[in-house]
Assembly symmetry: D3
Homo-oligomer: 114 residues x 6
């Protein structure tokens, strides 16, 4: 199973566990997290790239994986993702590099269109 | 003097001091920081919004001020900036709120077109 | 005007500006941020101390000010706040100290019961 | 071996290595880290929840594992842990989610009383 | 009063308040924070530069002010401080820049020997 | 294969992928990251220890691994590394501990001279 497939599987399984938790705040936060990337004044693609750059500077591998997956789905090009990673690198510094390495490895595995 | 004007003045003055420092790494980093927001596969506007969201989740007021200033210059609408702030809020959580308050205050002062 | 009064005034004024923003995510996030500190399985006092320790280790002065204000309102003792600050100090390290200094200054100004 | 058991084993083994290091600061810091969660004005349970929320917003998986283990030992209910996680989610934002997923997985494995 | 003098004054005053707090953990942490920069296998100068780079990448202005003050006292040259700032810039990225600007302003005020 | 060997292999492989990316900013950032640790006013050893303490307080395991490897190469003693870790622990707090555990494990594996 590829790294992306593993991530999707774990994410789905545990999100089901989280849904069972009887806590309004948690439920509403998850709804918000879904809603914020929908098209508005900004197109979905831009929002996924915003999610990606934020995840990279905060150095959250699972969040990076998620936004790469979504960015590909909504039609971001490899070149656009690379420029987004470059912004993350300059803003966040060399501590972003290990996360960028894992992102580049994943992008290769995802067989991204140019 | 408005908050934005004060920021610009301090930034300009100290950047001149920094330019006097005889250190290749610092000089090159500042060049990179300039270059990364130039138009490429992504338009300047998107890049400024990437810079803005990254600055908000990392909670850097001066960086937020800078990217709001640039975003206005390259034609981002108020609505686009608001959606970018919403992404920052969900990704970064309630600790982003104080920085968002100062951003909203600045936007008001900047007399932004809709 | 005391530092707490200044904070309250700025917060109120800008929150009114934020309410004018026509963005569902931002509105819902603010509602959540309000809801999460309400009494549940844990009493309000404990929740405010949770908010305080999180704000300290994330080094957010405005958030610390807010939770000190709320903690006093819901009856936390000075001693309980001090023990919460001690946890923040050990978890977050010496970079928490400047924020703790400002917290201690504020507590003095707030005329806290023992 | 469960994830908690693995963590305990690694932690114990390496703590023994760390104890061999002839460095007063390191020794004293470890003593402090032990002392700060002891009962005082606040009960142990509250202190472990403070440790948990701080670990979640700082996104430290091993620290989360440790405080879940301790929280269970000193009698925190599942509901109390869930409310603590909800505070962490709102304060720290969606980047806390991957750590919350691993926490929920661990809680399931720990067979927690309601 | 210069910015450094203001910092020293506030620091001294509030540290006296903190000393009055009857909390063993806080007292011991402050003792540790003092002890760790003393000469050992590494000279004091190197330790102050370690403190400086850590403070810069964690973006703590008061901590930066403190370590610049100490670094000057134990004989670090301006050149050594500049190279330390360059490491912080590359490791921590452009969000370090606002803190570096304030550091450069302070260094100018401190009248540092070459 | 030891943990250090695995790290080196992954790093080399992915750095080759990154080199293929046609993005000037990324290329220049990697050049800068290389340049900044070269001998200048400060010797290489001090610079590697600066890189190490910054990596520890920012809690980046791969960065810690890299700087331990380099620190050994340029002749840092185990004692100097331990004092550097002590600074990281005090500045960054107990959330540094899990990263310090993995560092201590690696140091053991690296068979470091006293």
């Amino acid at each position: 199973m590829s790294r992306l497939e593993e991530f999707k599987k774990f994410r789905e399984e545990i999100n089901q566990e989280i849904e069972k938790i009887d806590n309004q705040t948690i439920k509403r936060f998850f709804a918000l997290d879904n809603q914020v990337y929908k098209e508005g004044a900004l197109p979905e693609k831009t929002k996924e790239l915003l999610g990606l750059v934020a995840s990279m500077v905060l150095r959250c591998d699972d969040c990076i994986t998620y936004h790469l997956w979504q960015a590909q789905k909504v039609g971001a090009s490899k070149k656009e993702v690379e420029e987004t990673m470059a912004v993350a690198l300059v803003v966040g510094g060399s501590i972003v590099i290990p996360h960028m390495r894992r992102a580049v490895e994943l992008i290769k595995e995802m067989d991204w269109k140019e």
